[in-house]
């Protein structure tokens, strides 16, 4: 038994190192000079630490503006998604009215439809109302996803109806029940959905790529991509930019890890 446990631990450590190689490469290259990045054999620990990369990147590209745009979009979208998602989920899980199940089916059915299948007509609609090349287009695009409604409803199903009944008998309106009972009780689900939305909007490339053409509106992902296109031999600086673009989400993830993983696990359980 003991031998097997040790063998397993060794295997896991080895797999872990393998999985983390790209991160090690990213960080180590970000602290090198360009001509030291590709050496034979690879230097996993830089011979000389070039910390100045982390000071210079802010003047090479408008990194701060990109970070601000990404943060603004990710926070706004997460907030709206949680708000409208949990509001709608209450309607879908705790209220009975004609057309409810039919509507929910429409939500569910669209989760399996790839965005690419309707992005052209969506783009034409946005163009008609003059929203192309604005942050608002990205917000509208991502703040009303079916996934949020689905996730919140999964959680609300687990809250007993008796609790709601009791509050109704006490004379609370449905809106107050949602605000005073459901919202406080579903804090873990709200955290899950908020984190998942934050990370996916921060990392999104295709949406901003299609809609945002003005440089001053760009997100970190667009900025990084354009930097790579312009200076494809600035290996070290590209890795510095990558580290900076990844760092905020990794921090958010590490802080809210439990809720994050819980949220994914919940979405996979049949409801």
């Amino acid at each position: 038994m003991g031998v097997r446990k040790v063998a397993l631990s060794v295997l896991l450590v080895a797999l872990c190192l393998l999985v983390l190689v790209p991160f090690v490469w990213m960080i180590s290259s970000s602290l090198k000079h360009d001509n030291q990045v590709f050496t034979v054999p690879t230097q996993w620990v830089p011979r000389e630490f070039v910390w100045s990369n982390y000071a210079d990147i802010w003047t090479q590209i408008p990194m701060l503006a990109y970070l601000r745009n990404s943060a603004f979009l990710a926070v706004t979208i997460s907030f709206l998604q949680v708000l409208t998602g949990s509001f709608a989920a209450y309607g879908f899980s705790k209220l009975r009215f004609p057309g409810r199940d039919w509507l929910f089916l429409a939500y569910l059915a669209t989760i399996a439809v790839p965005w690419q299948a309707y992005m052209i007509p969506q783009y034409l609609i946005m163009e008609q109302v003059g929203l192309v090349d604005t942050h608002l287009s990205i917000i509208l695009l991502q703040a009303f996803g079916a996934f949020g409604v689905f996730l919140m409803r999964q959680y609300y199903q687990s809250i007993p109806d008796e609790l709601i009944e009791a509050a109704r008998i006490d004379g609370l309106s449905e809106y107050r029940i949602w605000w005073r009972i459901m919202v406080p009780l579903s804090r873990p689900a709200i955290a899950s959905l908020g984190l998942l939305t934050f990370v996916s909007t921060w990392n999104d490339y295709m949406g901003p790529f299609i809609y945002l053409t003005s440089n001053e509106l760009w997100t970190v992902q667009l900025g990084l991509r354009s930097f790579v296109g312009q200076y494809d031999a600035a290996y070290a600086m590209i890795m510095t930019g990558s580290v900076i673009s990844v760092l905020p989400v990794v921090l958010v993830f590490l802080l809210g890890q439990r809720q994050f993983i819980q949220g994914i696990a919940t979405s996979g359980l049949k409801g």
């Binding site: 509507l103 669209t110 399996a112 790839p114 690419q116 992005m119 295709m206 989400v249 049949k270």
Partner: protein, 311 residues
Amino acid sequence: MVSTAPALRKRRPPEPPAPTRRRRSLRPALVGWSFILPNFLGFALLTLVPMVFGLALSFMEWSPWGDPEWVGFENFERMLRNSTFWIALWNTTYYAAGHIPLTMAVSLGLALLLNRTLAGLGFFRTAFFLPYVTSLVAVAVVWNMLFNPASGPVNQFLQFVGVSDPPGWTSSTAWAMPAVIVASVWRDMGYYMVLFLAGLQTIPTELYEAARVDGANAWQRFRNVTLPGLRPTTFFVLIMCTVASFKVFDLIVVMTDGGPGRATKVLSQLIYEEGIREGRFGLASAISLVLFLLVAGFTVVQFLLQRRRED
């Protein structure tokens, strides 16, 4: 719970007079709708309407310079004559055929390894999950460097273990797609691992005990207890993974931009190029419809297979 206490204590006077029958039937519907409306407005205008509109658009000729015109199946004929469409269709299928089974096998393997009590379990789970929160742009950029044909660490390693002529990866038409698939499996495995772990927790331990008593070895336990118990999870993972791989875009655009040549051009890239860059909205919508039918067809087949297995 604490915050609900005052609300519950504050008893209201006796019930208000019963509303008339008509109001009683209308009110719950209005309240219910009012909850759903804020989300539904956005959802309907930006998802449902475009979906229906897109279907119509695929039968229309519409460019930024002209008025829309009904053209029947012309867009589809043009699509079928377009050689890039066939290449993109093949590449998308190739990517899916590599990405789906590999991702599922790796993530299930990791979940099985982690589904036990072990020191440092949380650390391993975090490490395996970390690639998933990394943006695809960063993933693509880093893997491009790792796969550098001349002096990237991947080829250095291959030469070290005795491969004298390692592949050119993203600079070779034959090896660009495998390189993209490796990067995508690395990125996605943690996500599906979490889903599999959640599924594994739902299998009662008594089943394993009973199998052990019956003398089943590890492989038999896996075949006869784990796999059947995981079936709903596997189905869900398969569907999610399929949808995700048929719409692959970010990774390919940044890693290879469809090249070298057209070696890694995929359908969603073609939809973007034809529709948004070239303004051929009808043609792009026709390709979108094909993409949708592919995913829907695959999902329906899986669903039917799953149901037949359950009977």
